[in-house]
């Protein structure tokens, strides 16, 4: 099976997955207790007012019909109108997506090379003080909830040392690169959290790879040790790590609910929390779709990278 047919298959499967995600979110949102009309009008509203609003928003229609309407719109690139803001969802999410994506890419660029390096170093020096230090610190960070890390970092760098701003009050779509200092703390916290997985994964698979017979073969061919590590062990050891990295794509885009809230960063995660609170179904659905797509694209990229590294997958 060639690389291209596999990519094509994966893209088709991805579309099927996203469709399932759309159906599921629609169903779940509709069985959730609470009503958008009540949420908008507040507790003091009369049943008549609620009913009138429901009718004007089309909420009295049968669920299948509403889903059909919504899905048809999505296929045309129209994600509907926000129930609480009354603005089209598309542009609303787009600006925040840009923010989140920029933050995510910067995090990946910082996190991946550093954690692979640390994981590999720990594996190569297995049992040494360095390895134990790396393992101890990653275990500590692994057990630390993200909000503690975030608040701790804020306390140290923004309040005590006053080196960096504590909040990232960027508006959706604003160019992040003009004010890089605001994203230093979010990047630091996110990378510290995400790196623990990748470091541990790299370390474990690197230790496996270093114990294989083909690494021994390379050593006993007279290849210098550092070359054996970089050329023979590392590429094979990267295979399990790649899956982890691929999944972190989605996490970076949508899983940052807490971080975005703490740093007041206008990203997709923050928008999603807001939409849940206000029962803003179209916005929530769009957010979930975008995040699911990010997960899918991430694992697709990881699979492609695995195929490039592992000939058994492509031949």
């Amino acid at each position: 099976m060639s690389l291209w047919t596999l990519i094509l298959q994966r893209i088709l499967l991805m579309i099927a997955t996203l469709f399932c995600v759309a159906v599921l979110t629609f169903l779940i949102v509709n069985v959730l207790p609470g009503d958008v009309a009540v949420a908008i009008l507040g507790d003091q509203s009369t049943p008549d007012q609620v009913e009138a609003l429901r009718q004007s928003m089309g909420l009295d229609q049968p669920i299948l019909l509403r889903f059909g309407d919504w899905f048809g719109g999505v296929m045309r690139g129209d994600f509907g109108t926000s129930l609480t803001f009354g603005r089209p969802v598309g542009p609303m999410i787009w600006g925040r997506l840009l923010n989140s994506a920029t933050l995510g890419v910067i995090c990946l660029l910082v996190m991946i090379p550093v954690s692979i390096l640390l994981g590999a170093v720990a594996a190569v020096t297995q049992g040494s003080v360095l390895d134990r230090a790396i393992t101890a610190i990653t275990t500590f960070l692994f057990g630390m909830p993200e909000y503690v890390l975030a608040l701790g970092a804020m306390l140290i760098f923004a309040i005590w040392l006053q080196w960096l701003p504590g909040a990232a009050m960027v508006s959706p779509g604003e160019n992040l690169f003009t004010q890089l200092d605001v994203i230093v703390l979010p990047v630091l916290v996110i990378s510290l959290g995400g790196a623990t997985y990748i470091i541990q994964m790299t370390r474990a698979s690197m230790i496996d790879a270093l114990g294989t017979a083909y690494v021994r073969t390379a050593l006993l061919k007279g290849v210098p040790r550092w070359q054996v590590i970089l050329k023979h062990a590392l590429p094979n050891a990267m295979l399990p790590t790649l899956v982890e990295i691929g999944l972190s794509f989605g996490a970076l885009l949508g899983g940052l609910v807490i971080i975005e809230t703490i740093f007041n960063f206008a990203g997709v995660g923050q928008l999603m929390v807001m939409s849940v609170q206000s029962r803003d179904v179209p916005v929530l659905q769009a957010c979930v779709l975008v995040i699911a797509a990010a997960y899918s694209v991430g694992s697709l990229l990881a699979d492609i990278a695995s195929m490039l590294l592992n000939p058994r997958l492509r031949t």
Binding site: A16, T217, K221, P224
Partner: protein, 668 residues
């Protein structure tokens, strides 16, 4: 122990220790050997003998251990004091190695050419293009087919035999002075082994390279090597010319090893295995290391270290006695067995069994399923009561799949397993308790087939409760009896699998199968993971049980010697089909199928430079299953289109001898 003056390799008084303090294992003690230019030296030993440790120490690669004394010289240059930089110039360049398990020795992510070229670029300073061109040339030298194409392929795309040829090509790339081969044919199919051994002999002749050949197989070593050293528990116990050590062994351990060798011709006589087990090398006992297991040992043996004695021309032995007379009962005649005649109705039969791995799993959208060959193709067999049916075949022949289908662990696509004429449900879970009780199985890998959290008593006692064989209050007594049947004492009851040796674990597996009081035991390669001396005693146990309890065995193995030793009748499988069945003596003395002939020719017999195993020169297309003969592409009796396009007819000989071949039976 003796050494030539101009030796390529000289290992002197080498001792290697793993671990520290009280837990230090003295794995290799005072080993001395030397190899002359162009000489092939065989190092024999069972697992735990330290043979691989010696081999890797010559490459400067002792992981987790250290050389505690001694020296290793290559061309009079000391290797043990070299810096890492100097080692890099020796490894792969002046000493090269060929490994057991070539699949894992090759990097799965690199093209084959690149792996060979890497050595050349490193040691010969070649450009990438030159190195790849040389790789093609090396591939041709090791007789790999279509070398220009093969350099661009990956390890998983070629067969095990071809992988080993690639490893050999890598090893001879820089014209090393010494080639270390660590069990190079272990794990390969017997015909592949024969081809690799031939290649090694051929390369030796052409390149004049010195070889250190490590193996547990005495016949293979005798076939390749000039001189042989026998290692036991980290000590060299005997050394001498290969044929002398194989035929006129002087050390009791070597004699025991020879006694455990399965006879491949002549009369089948009962094997005499070595009793006991390896000593604990944390506290090396005083006196002769082999004394606790030696039938000849005296009090003197247990207190004094035996000196090396010259027992023949360049033949030495570390035994106090210069002459040992084998006791008269060394060979006990096998109790005469008469397999039930043709007229007896089969107890278990397999009718038209088909099995394919292709259809397994959930169908996924857009994912095309690969067409796969059937693992079993219309397999029909019968086992009569009390009979031992041996099923032989190489890897991929479908023999283990057949065992699993009979035991109800896999559900066949078509066909049925019948017990006394009654059709059994395909899966064990659907079968009646009684049917499950009557057919038991012993698996190949004793390590993974025992629950590590249960004691031996729990494991063996389990089927007693499951099938209500004996009342509850007698279960313990019965469990002890079962252990005794497989020569394990009562004290094993409370032990856990990790405390047992490989042979003991397999005995526990057999006892567990016996616990159900079955009529038929399916043995799926039960001895292939064991050392030969252990194999001999496990086989003897199985033979004794069969006589006591009148059980039938379906004995699956790749080892023709084992089949010859234990089976009444034999079925030869190839490519998912049974190609020949018949009485064991009949099939061995007058094989009807060209594949059986090829197998029999491939058995290493220990004679130097034995006749070449013929290879099919022109490459024929792989036969399509169900259209022609499955063996058509490798057959030396190939007849052209008939073999490719017509299913071979069943040819009947005497006493139920059946052969599926276009060639007529010679005897019929």
């Amino acid at each position: 122990m003796s050494g030539a003056e101009n030796a390529v390799l000289r290992v002197n008084d080498l001792s290697i220790t793993y671990g520290h303090g009280d837990h230090a294992v003295h794995a290799v003690r005072n080993v001395t050997l030397s190899i002359a230019p162009g000489e092939a030296y065989g190092l024999i030993g069972e697992s735990g003998s330290g043979k691989s440790t010696v081999a890797f120490s010559i490459m400067g690669h002792v992981v987790g251990g250290r050389v505690s004394s001694g020296s290793i010289q290559l061309d009079r240059r000391e290797l043990l004091t070299m810096s890492p930089r100097e080692w890099q110039d020796v490894r792969g360049n002046r000493i090269a190695m060929v490994y057991q398990d070539p699949m894992n020795a090759l990097n799965p992510a690199f093209r084959l050419g690149a792996q060979v070229a890497e050595t050349l670029i490193r040691h010969r300073g070649m450009s990438r293009e030159d190195a790849w061109a040389k790789a093609v040339d090396l591939f041709r030298q090791v007789r790999l087919p279509d070398p220009e194409q093969l350099v661009n392929r990956y390890p998983h795309q070629i067969s095990g035999g071809q992988q080993q040829r690639v490893v050999i090509a890598m090893a001879i790339a820089c014209e090393a002075q010494l080639l270390i081969m660590d069990e190079p044919t272990t794990g390969l199919d017997i015909t592949t082994e024969a081809h690799i051994l031939e290649l090694i002999a051929d390369l030796r002749q052409r390149l004049g390279i010195a070889i250190l050949f490590i193996s547990h197989n005495l016949r293979v070593v005798a076939q390749v090597c000039d001189r042989v050293g026998v290692l036991y528990a980290g000590q060299m116990v005997e050394e001498g010319p290969a044929d002398a050590v194989l035929q006129k062994a002087r050390h009791p351990y070597t004699m025991g090893l020879n006694g455990s060798l399965l006879p491949i011709s002549g009369e089948v006589r009962r094997l005499k295995p070595i009793a006991g087990r390896l000593p604990d090398l944390r506290q090396v006992p005083q006196g002769c290391i082999f004394a606790p297991r030696c039938a000849y040992a005296t009090d003197q043996c247990r207190t004094m270290d035996p000196q090396i004695q010259v027992v023949g021309k360049r033949h030495v032995s570390r035994c106090m006695f210069s002459e040992l007379v084998p006791p008269a009962d060394r060979f006990i005649e096998m109790g005469s067995r008469h397999a039930p005649g043709d007229s007896v109705a089969p107890q278990l039969s397999v009718v038209d069994l088909d099995y394919s791995y292709a259809r397994r799993g959930m169908p996924l959208p857009f994912l095309a399923r690969k067409a796969r060959a059937k693992a079993l193709d219309r397999v029909t067999l019968a086992i009569r009561p009390g009979e031992t049916l041996g099923i032989v075949g190489e890897s991929g022949s479908g023999k283990s799949t057949l065992a699993r289908c009979i035991a109800g662990l896999r559900s066949p696509d078509r066909g049925a397993v019948r017990l006394e004429g009654r059709r059994l449900e395909p899966l064990a879970g659907q079968r009646s308790r009684e049917a499950r009780q009557r057919v038991q199985i012993v698996f190949q890998n004793p390590d993974s087939s025992l629950n590590p959290l249960r004691t031996v008593g729990d494991i063996v006692g389990r089927p007693l409760g499951l099938y209500n064989v004996v009342p509850e209050e007698e279960r313990r007594k019965r469990t002890i009896e079962l252990l005794e049947m497989v020569n394990l004492e009562e004290r094993y009851m409370t032990r856990y699998p990790r405390e047992l040796s490989g042979g003991e674990k397999q005995r526990v597996n057999i006892a567990r199968a016996l616990g159900a009081d079955p009529e038929i035991i399916i043995c799926d390669e039960p001895t292939s993971a064991l050392d030969i001396s252990v194999q001999a005693s496990v086989l003897n146990t199985l033979i004794d049980l069969r006589t006591q309890k009148d059980m039938a065995y379906v004995f699956i193995t790749h080892d023709l010697g084992v089949v010859r030793y234990i089976a009444d009748r034999v079925a030869v499988m190839y490519g998912g089909s049974v190609v020949e069945t018949g009485r064991t003596d009949q099939v061995f003395s007058s094989p009807g199928h060209p594949y059986t002939e090829m197998l029999l020719n491939a058995i290493p017999d220990g004679t130097r430079g034995r006749k070449a195993l013929l290879e099919v020169e022109d490459s024929r297309p792989k036969p399509i299953q169900g259209v022609g003969c499955v063996f058509a592409d490798r057959c030396l009796q190939y007849r052209g289109r008939e073999c490719d396009e017509v299913l071979p007819p069943v040819r009947l000989g005497q006493d139920g001898h059946m052969v599926n071949c276009h060639r007529a039976l010679a005897s019929a």
